[in-house]
Assembly symmetry: C2
Homo-oligomer: 143 residues x 2
Amino acid sequence: MQISSRFTIAVHMMTCMEMFKEEYKVTSDFLASSINVNPVIIRRILAQLRDAGLIEVKRGTGGAAVIKPLNEITFLDVYRAVECIEDNTLFHFHENPNSDCPVGRNIHNILDDKLQRVQEAMERELKSITLADVMKDLEKYIR
Amino acid sequence: MQISSRFTIAVHMMTCMEMFKEEYKVTSDFLASSINVNPVIIRRILAQLRDAGLIEVKRGTGGAAVIKPLNEITFLDVYRAVECIEDNTLFHFHENPNSDCPVGRNIHNILDDKLQRVQEAMERELKSITLADVMKDLEKYIR
DNA sequence: ATATCTTGTAATCCTAACTGAAACAACCTG
DNA sequence: CAGGTTGTTTCAGTTAGGATTACAAGATAT
């Protein structure tokens, strides 16, 4: 399975919030039209980013904005905010190996630390990329 | 989304094939009982591992065996054999960003290399672990 | 050749997750 | 209070994973 598009949508959303914060009120309809998905999807992700403390959303009057310095928001922050990974484990383990078999009895212990290392490698890389990097590239592309 | 349990099942399967190759004929029913899943699931994964050139499966008489040195089979080989990732991209990108928006127009170019780096970090770690490591740990646990 | 065990594969069913969409209460401001 | 916006629920469609049943096809022993 692939990682859901919620992650790239969330990065797109926060990039828009920053890019247009002076010119427009960045509402869920505004974001939905740049990203081309249903506004409800946007609002659900807005709530997840808000709960993670990355943005603030104004009720009634409307509009969303990033509330942390962009160079302090890593891809890992966004990933953790929107991707609901069970028990924070990337790999889904088969549930009931047979404990009467020497392999079945030990496979969990053998694999757990190895799978953990893989997950950490991925998260380390996610952590090394920030929204400030994205904005810098965006300005480069626009010029 | 998590990575499907096919991966841990496949590693479990190949570990069993190696562990019991002298004592037993390692059939899909044998594997299914150690792993505790349906034999058809096992046979489907057997086919994927066979197609990837990692094992051989005997029709009629039955039995499966690893056909490469264990220290040459990496977790990445197994992962690629059983996990069908669309276009070999770990992250699912939202399909239709609005090209009338400066962010929508550029977001793909901006993110693609960054997401690629994350995927490569993960695959590099997967590549560094082999089935020989698993067998070594298994012997340690059994003693 | 026939009985028997096994693999290969198709067909069904069930469940979970993702996305799209409609609807509406709650909220804020002018 | 009117109008725009968010928060949230609900339903439907799609896809993927896994369980299960069924059976044709292959290989071996006798």
